[in-house]
């Protein structure tokens, strides 16, 4: 697929022929059907699609949070598929960063402690110069000793971003990172993500349903009905919206077809 054009930049994460099925019999739902995607190193990729398109499932499978029924998932050179819980845990700790919709900071730790948490878990000391660079980029220098409850939503999400970035993972997976933020805070966070790709060469994969958020990405993958149906390079928000509208119509038509067939 589109991955061939990015081969020279290297592949940070790859899904190859991935299937994911929930439930059995009548209640069976195919979340992913034969999805193959490559996430290029040093690029910002957004995954979009209508509700139930499988975009979150794809991210969870690629991040090693969920298993696949068929196919393979790689993070860098690591084959994620078939890893034990211990290996998965270590892989998530060392190779992956997460940014969640709900920030998910530990209320007992200060901002700084939250940021260095993945390193602490691994028993590593933060690289001071890198840490300082990250902190200055997210602009949290004067908030480091604060507890999460003393920070605004945007600040909390920036702490979460710094946390994902500080261990220099192969890939950062962001799940609706602006979903809980007002538009100004959301823009701050997105700018920060963009900057970390441009300045530090970080790879970021972001699931979102917000066309404006997707416009910050280098590339937008569109999922519908468990399949990658389209992609846009260097999109604008309008392009993304148009594409989404088109997809929704296709999906609606397919569902109507199915309803008739059934």
């Amino acid at each position: 697929m589109a991955s061939t054009t990015m081969a020279d930049a290297g592949i940070a994460a790859r899904a190859a022929g991935v299937w994911k099925v929930y439930g059995t019999g009548e209640a069976q739902v195919v979340a992913l059907r034969d999805v193959s995607v490559d996430m290029a190193r040093g690029r910002f990729t957004a995954i979009m699609g209508p509700s139930g398109s499988g975009k979150s499932t794809l991210m969870h499978c690629m991040a090693g949070l969920d298993t696949v029924d068929r196919g393979e998932v790689f993070i860098g050179d690591l084959r994620v598929t078939g890893m034990s819980d211990r290996q998965l845990t270590q892989m998530r700790r060392d190779n992956i960063g997460f940014i969640f919709q709900q920030f998910n900071l530990l209320p007992t730790l200060t901002a700084e402690e939250n940021i260095t948490l993945p390193l602490s878990i691994a028993g590593r000391k933060p690289d001071r110069a890198w840490f300082d660079q990250v902190i200055d980029t997210v602009g949290l220098r004067d908030r480091l000793t604060h507890k999460p409850t003393e920070l605004s939503g945007g600040q909390q999400q920036r702490v979460a971003c710094a946390r994902a970035l500080v261990s220099r993972p192969e890939v950062i997976f962001a799940d609706e990172p602006t979903g809980n933020l007002d538009s100004r805070s959301g823009a701050e966070v997105l700018n920060f993500l963009r900057e970390s790709v441009d300045r530090f060469g970080q790879t970021i994969v972001m699931v979102t349903h917000d066309a404006n958020a997707a416009s910050y990405a280098d590339r937008v993958l569109f999922l519908a009905d468990g399949q990658v149906v389209d992609e846009l390079m260097d999109p604008t928000a309008e392009q993304v919206l148009d594409e989404l509208k088109r997809l929704e119509e296709i999906v609606a038509a397919k569902q109507a077809q199915r309803a008739e067939g059934a």
């Binding site: 270590q90 530990l106 007992t108």
Partner: protein, 851 residues
């Protein structure tokens, strides 16, 4: 609302189950105690009813003998008097029964074995009547014969024709040997009625052994003539004999004898109920915590009810209804299990009585009421505060992502202060005055204890963070520590549940160690005797030995000093009851007991000399050279004495009154009961002790005891007491551990999202377990340290209060305290097992995803 309540209850079965278990255990303990008391009482009553079935009416003296604490003997003349009473059938039977353990069995080694459990009873043979059934041989016909109950014969390996030796504590003729003429059992093929061992002698022999007199009986059985009821006969006999005698029907007798057991059972029962109450107290804390957490977690849901128009009272009612439901279940299950436990306990106790006591089940109404009242009352009471808090949740909370607000701790400081200040005041006041009142002091201690419990949340945060620092070397440790300090109220309430048991056992441990240390110090510094001649087994009548042993002991190579002691426990000094000792060598006695003369002579020159200590002199207004009147209980004539010396009392209030051994002839026991013996320098302790023991060959009731062995004996008694208390407190501890499990489980549920995030960013399963375990260990260590701190404090205060009553030394049981700390860590680790398992089995994806 009712349906919503029920649904919410059902959705939280697991957590409510744990809290219900806590109350069930508490209720079970109390209900079990009550059922045990009632069932065991009924079993004993049925045993005595069997024993007295053949008795129509029995006559005993209304007066009590001071030495044996048994009814006085009845003269033979009463028999003839009774034969003429209307409604009496045949000749009344004079009975001699030893109720005070006066007659003791001498074993093959020539010593009296220390007896435990059911008594050995000597009596006169009046024929093989119901319930007695002869198995072999016959009853005693001549004065050198004895008939034994089957269990007594078996215990001593005796058959008809064998020799059987006894000694009487009252009869001074020493060991006496009889020939076994027969072995008998009881109706229903039983070897014994209730575990007791019985030996029957001919009437004259029984009179001599049991009463040391001839022509007297301990009781008389009267048969009713046909047509006369037992009650009519009783009234006739009463009228004929007058007020000096107690006349009872067989039925009344069975009841009164079993009532005597009843007072012992009641005391035992109160102890059990006290420990059951502690368990209930601990479970209150558990329930407060469970409901607080549930209310906190349901904030959104309850606020939604309020937003939809539910009144405050409805929210309050819904939480209380849940409590009521749990309370009813706990009460009913607790009662059911309590009945089973009580029944089982009765069977076990019945076995201690020789396995002959039939366990009967009796469930008193009180047990049913107590179970329901405690089960429901305690749950509702404990749920009240969380329920009120629930009713105050504003409807707007439904719209907020309710961060569980950490509630302030200052109200606890105020509440704690309200108890601590008056408690401290009472205790300080009581310690500063000489004549402290136990009740007031105990109230002060109780207030301090409650105050300490209430003030706990105040110190929880700094304290927990301090303990946690010991474990923050790893990231799971650090997170665990921070989690435990997250909600000081929740942590303290959980820890307090553990603290209560630890406080009690530590305080008692400190007191026990202090008593032991004081006793050891007394033995070491004051008691200069090396060995003691004294009885082997405790009995109502102290065992005595031949006076000539005292002189013989003095002749033994290596013996320096010998002082014999005679007791009169029921003498009167100037009309007041006192305990008087007589000795043949007062200077040796005071030297060996480490007593110093305050003034006057240290010796008892003549039979009218009296030496008392300062405490007695002060109480009775006696001064040197003054006179006092003493009436000994072995002789009715009052005697005048001159105070020839006063012994220094020091700080002690214990009385000491000495007269010359010449006055022992007026004592009820005319032989010495104890002798203190000090060895000369360089004497071979073992050799001298052996020689002294040889002297006692013909005195089976006493033995030579090493004084240092008395300390050991004391230690073993204290150890047994502590073990029993620890076992009884185990239940409270167990409930506290359930509390820790409960708090952790609920905390894990509450932090699902956090755990999911941690797992997502690379926290391994073992790190999750480590984090939960650290939190658990911090809570249990906090509880244990609090308990030890408060317990040591209360124990020290107790020792201070008893300073003048022998507990002069303060000792802390360091080994035991260290043991409790280790136990707390182990408990912490164990309590974390289930919550940690649940935490690390968490589905990461579910934990972090929304929708």
């Amino acid at each position: 609302m009712l349906r919503a309540t029920f649904k919410s209850l059902m959705s939280r079965k697991a957590r409510l189950f744990l809290s219900a278990i806590a109350i069930i255990l508490g209720v079970m303990f109390i209900a079990g105690s009550l059922v045990l008391r009632s069932s065991f009482g009924a079993s004993i009553e049925s045993m005595f009813t069997t024993a007295f079935e053949s008795v129509d009416v029995q006559v005993t003296s209304a007066k009590t003998n001071e030495t044996t604490q048994q009814p006085e003997a009845i003269p033979e003349s009463v028999l003839a008097q009774l034969a003429g009473v209307k409604g009496v059938e045949g000749t009344p039977k004079g009975l001699v029964t030893d109720g005070a353990g006066v007659v003791q069995v001498v074993d093959k080694n020539g010593k009296v074995a220390p007896g435990f459990g059911a008594p050995t009873i000597a009596a006169n043979w009046v024929g093989a009547d119901d319930p007695i059934e002869m198995r072999e041989g016959s009853g005693p016909v001549s004065d050198d014969q004895v008939a034994l109950s089957a269990n007594l014969a078996e215990a001593n390996g005796l058959k008809v024709g064998d020799k059987f030796t006894v000694i009487s504590l009252l009869d001074s003729s020493g060991k006496q040997t009889f020939t076994v003429s027969g072995v008998f059992g009881f109706t229903g093929g039983r070897d014994t009625l209730g575990g007791e061992k019985t030996m029957y002698f001919t009437t004259p022999v029984a009179q001599r052994l049991v009463l040391d007199k001839t022509g007297v009986f301990t009781s008389i059985d009267v048969k009713a003539a046909p047509g006369t009821t037992d009650e009519q006969l009783r009234d006739n006999v009463k009228a004929a004999l007058g007020g000096d005698y107690k006349v009872q029907t067989g039925e009344e007798l069975a009841k009164s004898v079993s009532d005597q057991f009843g007072t012992v059972l009641d005391a035992f029962n109160y102890v059990l109920i006290a420990f059951g109450s502690i368990a209930v107290l601990v479970s209150i804390f558990l329930i407060i915590n469970t409901f607080s957490i549930i209310v906190a977690q349901r904030t959104r849901e309850l606020a939604l009810f309020r937003a939809m128009g539910a009144a405050r009272g409805q929210v309050l009612g819904s939480v209380l209804l849940e409590a009521l439901f749990i309370g009813v279940i706990a009460g009913v299950f607790g009662l059911g299990l309590g009945i089973l436990a009580g029944w089982g306990g009765t069977a076990v106790l019945g076995n201690l009585f020789g396995g002959q006591l039939t366990a009967e089940l009796s469930v008193p109404v009180g047990a049913v009421i107590a179970s329901l009242v405690i089960g429901i009352g305690v749950t509702i009471l404990a749920a009240l505060f969380p329920a009120i808090r629930a009713s105050r949740i504003p409807p707007i909370a439904a719209l907020r992502d309710a961060a569980n607000a950490i509630r302030p701790v200052w109200p606890f400081a105020v509440a704690g202060g309200l108890f601590l200040v008056p408690g401290a005041a009472l205790v300080i006041w009581q310690l500063s005055i000489k004549e402290a009142t136990l009740g007031v002091f105990a109230t002060g201690i109780g207030l301090l204890f409650i105050g300490a419990i209430l003030a706990t949340p105040l110190i929880a945060r700094p304290f927990v963070s301090l303990i946690g620092r010991l474990m923050s070397w790893s990231i799971p440790g650090k997170l665990g520590r921070l989690n435990s300090g997250r909600n000081p109220r929740r942590t303290s309430i959980t820890a307090v549940a553990l603290m209560i048991g630890v406080t009690l056992i530590t305080a008692i441990g400190v007191l026990a160690a202090s008593v032991q240390a004081s006793f050891d110090k007394f033995l070491e510094t004051s008691l200069k005797a090396d060995v003691l001649i004294a009885g082997t087994a405790p009995s109502q009548v102290p065992p005595t030995f031949d006076e000539k042993i005292l002189g013989e002991a003095k002749q033994v190579q290596g013996v320096d000093k010998v002082a014999g002691v005679w007791f009169d426990g029921a003498a009167k000094l100037n009309g007041k009851d006192v305990f008087v000792q007589a000795t043949d060598d007062l200077p040796a006695m005071t030297y060996m007991l480490g007593q110093k003369m305050h003034e006057g002579s240290g010796s008892l020159g003549s039979g009218t000399d009296l030496v008392v200590n300062q405490a007695v002199a002060k109480e009775y207004g006696l001064s040197l050279g003054g006179s006092a009147t003493i009436t000994f209980s072995g002789d009715p004539a009052p005697r005048t004495f001159t105070v020839s010396g006063i012994i220094a009392s020091g700080d002690s209030d214990d009385p000491a009154i000495y007269v010359s051994s010449a006055d022992a002839q007026y004592f009820p026991l005319k032989s010495p009961v104890q002798a203190f013996i000090a060895f000369g320098d360089g004497a071979d302790k073992k050799a001298v002790t052996d020689k002294l023991n040889d002297l006692l060959a013909d005195n089976p009731l006493v033995t030579v005891a090493d004084v240092s062995a008395i300390g050991d004996q004391m230690k073993s008694i204290i150890d047994i007491m502590l073990t029993v208390i620890q076992v009884l407190l185990l239940l409270a501890m167990f409930i506290a551990v359930i509390g820790v499990i409960n708090t952790l489980t609920l905390s894990v549920l509450e932090r699902t999202r956090e755990l999911g995030m941690l797992r997502a960013v690379g926290f391994s399963r073992s790190q999750v377990s480590g984090m939960v375990t650290v939190e658990s260990v911090v809570i249990s260590l906090f509880g244990a340290l609090l308990g030890i701190g408060v317990g040591v404090g209360l124990g020290v205060l107790g020792q201070r209060a008893l300073k003048n009553d022998f507990v002069t030394e303060l000792a802390l049981p360091w080994g035991t305290i260290a043991g409790y700390l280790i136990a707390a860590i182990v408990i912490g680790v164990l309590a974390a097992l289930i919550p940690a398992y649940r935490a690390n089995r968490l589905n990461v994806l579910k934990a972090i995803s929304y929708e």
